[in-house]
Symmetry: C2
Subunit: 405 residues, 2 copies
Amino acid sequence: MGLIVQKFGGTSVANPERIRNVAKRVAKIFDQGNDLVVILSAMVGVTDGLIDLAKQMTASPDRRELDVLLSTGEQTTVALLAMTLKSMGYPTMSLLGFQAEVVTDCNHCNARIVDIGTNRIRDLLEKRSIVVVAGFQGCDADGNITTLGRGGSDTSAVAIAAALKADMCEIYTDVDGIYTADPNVCSKARKLSKVSCEEMLEMASVGAKVLHIRSVEFALKHNVPVYVRSSFNEEEGTMVVNGDHDMERPIVSAVTYSKNEARITLKKVPDQPGVAAKIFSSIADANINVDMIIQNTRAGGETDLTFTVPKSEFKRALDIEREIAKEIGAEKVLGDKDIAKVSVTGIGMKSHSGVALKMFRTLADENINIMMISTSEIRISCVVEEKKAELAVRTLHTAFGLDSE
Amino acid sequence: MGLIVQKFGGTSVANPERIRNVAKRVAKIFDQGNDLVVILSAMVGVTDGLIDLAKQMTASPDRRELDVLLSTGEQTTVALLAMTLKSMGYPTMSLLGFQAEVVTDCNHCNARIVDIGTNRIRDLLEKRSIVVVAGFQGCDADGNITTLGRGGSDTSAVAIAAALKADMCEIYTDVDGIYTADPNVCSKARKLSKVSCEEMLEMASVGAKVLHIRSVEFALKHNVPVYVRSSFNEEEGTMVVNGDHDMERPIVSAVTYSKNEARITLKKVPDQPGVAAKIFSSIADANINVDMIIQNTRAGGETDLTFTVPKSEFKRALDIEREIAKEIGAEKVLGDKDIAKVSVTGIGMKSHSGVALKMFRTLADENINIMMISTSEIRISCVVEEKKAELAVRTLHTAFGLDSE
């Protein structure tokens, strides 16, 4: 018995039948004597549908108003789940972001949680109510609705679990845990019974879609135990644990890939102090995240500068850089959306050398060209042609000894 | 130039194209130098769709949670209109019920506005923003979302106009004004250029669907000039004015009908003090509005008692009365959903007698049986068989000299 936060993703609440299944699952845990806070996403596809609707009105919808629109998705599912639990005889109440006092900054469409006032949730829990909270959404200090960006419901769940000092945050999704690679791409992928927050953080940052990266940051920072499992079966999932863990330690734990980025290159940038700052300050002002950056010095006091941005921000970033290229006298701006980032991650890398070399050789042997490289202490990522991403994943999975028997 | 509140109904915002037309209409009035608050309904059909969705979860959805669900309809349209106006270069902001400080009682699904805090709207108007407010919704003192019942957006509009002391409240709808009868039923119906609040109130209470009855109450109480017109053309509409007005005064201004009610009869009710109170107190506790009541005394200290309730509450009311019939020893409870209420309304009735007699004779001449009768100072209503409603309207329209040339 304890205080459990459960989060159900978009496929778990995709239709009335599945919402009923979620209700049964929730009721079972509640009947065991646990206090429960349930965080929901929108029905799968709904957020995309709403973005489409907005785009029918205008190519660049105002972000504040887009948040007002998008937040209806989770509002719908929490109402449906709460009325279902009520009809089953369970005391329950839905709370929207502003009602649950999920306070964020005012960076619409990609807001960060700054505070969670837990009074209302605690009051309801004390009355033995099941509290159903809309994920993905919050409000800023002026009461404007904000959303946390794609996958934000995970972050809602872990942040609320942290604020409540919950005993466990269970993330129910359509996969039954964290795998050594995407099983859809790599048939030999294996499920991990445990993974460290640090590894999860690196994996999420490079394409493992199971958990929203900011949710893992929260879990790491606030020491929230996170358990990822499927809402469609009763199989064991994956525990995301803080710090090192006792699993058999391979050098590489997982191979991931991401097709969500695009590459922008400024050709023949004058090699002067302050130029790079100029190139990236407007991008930062527009709240576009730059991931990798590479600068090649050329002859004649000019350099080429290449960086990656989320594919969804590609056009905005390209427009901004075209302006800046004029200002600073760069020759031209090139863009490439057909790229993928393939990464190997493992806490074991800390104590092993030669992982990068092995990765580069493995890709070279398959004739896969590496366009960009970035590394962290426990991860190595290479940008390759988009069409070769799956081949790269499978080859690396085998090379690093991750294949199942 | 002045402060104008404009309300657009569900057909006016039915799709992106129509929302764009609303935006153009709003922009035109704004460009003339007016301050503007725009109230929107949900897209036509959306509220019904949401109710259907709720009914897929449970036959009797919890009313608090139903309000959370239903309020997404207006949330969607205000976001879409605001982002459209923004993209056209107009300063604007959407406000949901709680953000516009539309405070209601906590009678979910049929809440009444108790206060409107106008600070945020006034702040925005002072900055020359077009304020787009979600109709139909508010919040109670604890921040729970409430809705005002069917047609509630009219009430939102008039209440906000009253709170702001607006110069005009324009109700844009899919008809171009108030008619002497429903033109779909009576081809000879004429548009009224003016109608008094009192008449409008009576007409709204008996089936004229153009304005929500509570909106007219607000208009009457707070002296808000209301102008009903079409959002699809530029034709003159109908002014709803307070008090007597200068139009040529016919005895009857309009013939209306309603099929929204059902009849419940308790047979052989013991004729004792306190029995009627018992019969209606549970109905009142369940927040079901009773309209007409008739009691016929029979021989032997027993009476039959008949009353009407909204068709949507028929089942609930029937269940309640069946319980009560047992308690008080009434013989049985009968119900009839196939009824319609036909009404003639006119401020001119105040100074004319014989209107009731003429109505009864006209119906009798057409062989239409009158089941129940109710009257006010300026209205007479008869309950008839549902299938004879249209015939009754047309016959009365002619009999009271309302037909167009």
